[in-house]
Symmetry: C2
Subunit: 586 residues, 2 copies
């Protein structure tokens, strides 16, 4: 060992001990005849003192240390005269007797401080230096503790962690697969799994009863800010259960994590909200319930007074921003511009302020009497000093989504989205299908293995779009951290599902024959869910992006700029794989 | 929940309780007016009784159940009249009141019993049924418990589990990579990692101090019986350590696993043996020390008596098989044929028996006097009743390897390789390089990041082939379960190593520039090791192949016969990836 102790563990009780530490030079300060060195490792920072009166050469050597040099120091632990209460080791310092440079360092391209001067690109290129920064390292420590606690909890509930293969078959339904050419099977390809969905179902058929896996999954999608081509799931499945069993067990896991990781004891059951209600009251299947601003529908109040926009609308709904009546015209114009951005696409925004005297002043006063506006304010529960914001549209779902964006923006502006406050709920009763304009057919909203609600099964033949599923999402602070469903375990029902989704029997057999075949040999009722680990860690870490809880993330082009991957292959490798690259002409 | 209890938990104390169980029909037996159903799940088997006098229809329904039907049964727990001491639930049975078929089953293609009638191919095709068999399921349960204990141990030692990426860059040095075409970066490819070696070293540069990961790795090799294209490593790395620190910490982990998983308390330190001694005394860098039969070199005893084979040999060595003097001519001929097989390649085998009177009778008696033969027997420590087996050759290493195979075969024949006995050791002081006839250059024996022994560094310039490395393997029962090394942490030494390995500076920079660059910014001394999880589980489970501790293994052609992967891609997918398949002409 190059050390007797880490840089984070020595305390006043160690005074007088002879110790050896090793770590990185955080800072060197010369003060008169003394040199102070802050020595850093993963565990903390310890101050080292070199006294020139004591050893001139040693003091001189310390003065030549550069930032991020790796050094080994031996000396005696001593009580500090001026203690540093911000540092766990702040009561002591090491009076140095020996110094050895284990490895020098060039000047790093950015400072290794909590707030670095490195931009995103530079930090990613030198990610190994970025990871030395305390806030980044803490995210990885948090991630480690979360996965340890997840495993501890699931193990205590009888779950077995079972590894499923990474080299599987390609299933073009859904997102794009990453594929892997097989040299031993020329012209054939494996795919990397988008999730172990069908494999975990096979494990249920095999009687494993309770399975989990913390596992890498892959999706070749065009990357948005917060997507990675490879991501990590906490993937779980159970047999002989109904929806409520799964919800209760995994709510227990969430509470265990809140308690052990964040020190928050959640005693109440999580709210459960139907998908229909989530859409109706929050315009989202993952409502952020850290704050209210529930939608109030206003069709009955505001229609028929000659305001064409509302009179022709299929939907009119509003929210109340408590105490925001003071918003200036400029602020309201900003909000209007916000909802009119192409990503949101509202045509406009109607607002009304409730004055201190209770009168309501709106942007559409010329169409409405004070009586109507008061009725509106009353229906919305708006009080003196509140601001009312209204969105309308000719497509209810679209208008609700616009109002949802407005609500989230107002929550942000009013400081209601505190990262240290957590609002958890289950969204349940999802629709089984959603219509795809692109594909011109029904698509599975969750996936094709989801079990319809028993009472809705007759509608599969008559009105499939109205069928609800035994599907559920866990939502925290507007983030879908996990989701799952009861699965189909019956070969005929599964075949019918593929039929509704537009598969020919041959295509269904080709792609999912292994699963439908397995269902013929005694498949138990089963269901499960999967959590997005990256998202959940980000949420607990208070991060805006999942990237900073991943050791070596990829950028928005799917590149690892540190490794400079992907890259062209040698011709020899391509030949062995029987592949030719055919680039489109420039 | 479809059950109140599992099929493994009810005991005599539960008698009188009303319970509901769910599981698979293992067996139905009709005896007079009663029907006995063995109901199975992951947790055990419980006997259910249907009495026709009690409920004729229910009894009738039970008689129609087929093997592997999934059923739910409610009834009352009762004490059995004839108890089954072999079953934890053998004191009780359930008097059935209700029976519900949750899913019928076709007749499975093989029996779901400990000893199945299914051949390997059939079992793999229906792996989800094969996994229902108790011995196969137990392997996966063992694997789960081992990984839980590994994590528990390493977490307690301050290790962080950190996920490294699966989509990395290709490094053609070493085995072949599996590659993944990038759609977003046309003409470019990721590679799947053969191990996270360089990434974990970067984590050390980043100050993570103690890292581990249980992680999938990939090698596109032609598969031998006991290789899989994807396999799992327990991958570990530590900073500020020397070889002995790593050995002690991971010996502790091995002992923890032996204790918690196998109930074996290993109190002694593991033997440490130099690579040179392992080769000299056992002809292998992974000797099986469950038994002796140490090699004895016989050049000085047997050379120069006119037996041409020995007189011209560069190596003569033998082993003593205790008490095997009774071996017949037929058995000895079998052994001779065994070592002459092309995979082993010995030219022949010389043997000698030590009689009860101490006289030695050999297959080469005409060349040697009894005095010489006695001297040989004495040198070898052979006693009355022992069999001496001798191999010679004109290449020492080759002859030793042949003698090693003979030793292992004799150990097997004499029943000395008990699967429930464990002999652990560290093989240390590996050579840094080995000569490759194929490549006509030195290759790294471990990998190019291995640190040479400090005292041997001067020989890098003068006699690189003689340089030893700070490398070590953990060997149990002749299986290399893990191995590792102290790594180079100095950019110049790393560059020198690549030079010796025949890399141009440009090539080294292109492939490993990210690592050598990182070493310039304060890399700490570090080292680590990696265990092959599949092998270790197999060893603890007493399996002959790693396949049965993997849920969904691939066959020797790298195929998953259950999923039927790999498979050809749709043309659309190939086009999106800018790829064309060019198969060689038939």
């Amino acid at each position: 060992m190059f050390r007797t102790n880490t840089c984070g563990e020595l305390r006043l009780g160690d005074a007088g001990r002879t110790v050896t530490l090793a770590g990185w030079v955080q800072r060197v300060r010369k003060m008169g005849g003394m040199t102070f060195l802050d020595l850093r490792d993963r565990y903390g920072i310890t101050q080292i003192v070199f006294e020139s009166s004591d050893n001139e050469a040693l003091n001189e050597a310390a003065n030549h240390l550069g930032r991020e040099y790796v050094v080994q120091v031996s000396g005696t632990v001593a009580e500090r005269t001026s203690k540093n209460p911000h540092l766990p080791t702040g009561d002591i310092e090491i009076i140095a007797r020996e110094l050895r440079v284990l490895n020098p360092s060039e000047v790093p391209p950015f400072t290794i401080e909590d707030e670095s001067d490195g931009g995103d690109d530079l930090r990613m290129r030198y990610r190994y230096l970025d990871l030395r920064r305390t806030p980044v390292r803490r995210n990885l420590e948090l991630r480690h503790r979360m996965t340890m606690e997840v495993r501890r909890y699931l193990d205590s509930k009888g779950f077995l962690e079972i590894e499923t293969p990474m080299l599987v078959g390609s299933t073009p339904e859904g997102a794009r697969d990453f594929v892997v050419p097989s040299r031993m099977n020329p012209g054939q390809f494996y795919a990397l799994p988008q999730s172990p969905q069908t494999l975990k179902q096979l494990l249920m058929v095999s009687g494993m009863d309770r399975y989990f896996q913390i596992v890498k999954c892959f999706r070749d999608e065009d990357l948005r800010a917060d997507r990675q081509p490879e991501f990590t799931q906490i993937d779980c499945e159970m047999s002989f259960v109904e929806q409520n069993d799964i919800i209760e067990l995994f709510e227990g896991m969430a509470k265990h994590l809140f308690k052990t990781i964040r020190g928050i004891e959640l005693t109440e059951p999580f709210l459960r909200m139907s998908w229909a209600d989530a859409m109706k009251y929050y315009g989202s299947d993952k409502p952020d319930l850290r704050f209210g601003m529930k939608f109030v529908e206003l069709m009955d109040v505001l229609k028929g007074y000659g305001f064409g926009v509302f009179d022709n609308a299929e939907y009119i709904g509003g929210i109340v921003a408590k105490g925001a009546a003071h918003y200036t015209r400029k602020q309201l114009d900003e909000l209007t511009e916000y909802v009119k951005r192409p990503q949101i696409g509202a045509k406009g925004l109607v607002y009304a302020r409730v004055g201190e005297d209770g009168t309501v002043k709106s942007s559409v006063d010329k169409f409405y009497t004070q009586e109507v506006l008061r009725a509106m304010a009353d229906k919305m529960g708006a009080e003196a000093g509140d601001l009312i914001l209204i969105i309308s549209g000719d497509d209810t779902m679209r208008a609700r989504k616009q109002l949802c964006e407005l609500r989230l923006e107002m929550g942000r502006r009013l400081g209601l989205r505190d990262k240290d406050k957590f609002a958890c709920l289950w969204v349940v009763d999802f629709p089984m299908f959603e219509w795809s304009d692109e594909e011109q057919r029904l698509m599975a909203m969750h996936h094709p293995f989801t079990h319809p609600k028993d009472e809705d099964i007759p509608m599969l033949d008559t009105d499939p779009a109205a069928v609800r599923a035994d599907a559920y999402d866990m939502v925290i602070n507007g983030v879908e951290v996990g989701g799952g469903s009861i699965r189909i375990h019956n070969a005929e029902l599964q075949a019918k599902m593929f039929e509704i989704l537009g598969f020919t029997p041959e295509k269904a057999q080709e792609q999912f024959g292994f699963l439908m075949n397995a269902f013929k040999y005694g498949a138990p009722p089963h269901g499960g869910l999967a959590y997005g680990l990256d998202r959940w860690v980000s949420l607990f870490a208070g991060l805006d992006s999942i990237r900073d809880c991943i050791a070596f993330p990829k950028n928005n082009s799917g590149r690892d700029v540190m490794l400079d991957a992907p890259a062209p292959l040698d011709q020899k490798q391509l030949d062995e794989l029987n592949l030719a690259v055919e680039l489109p002409e420039a």
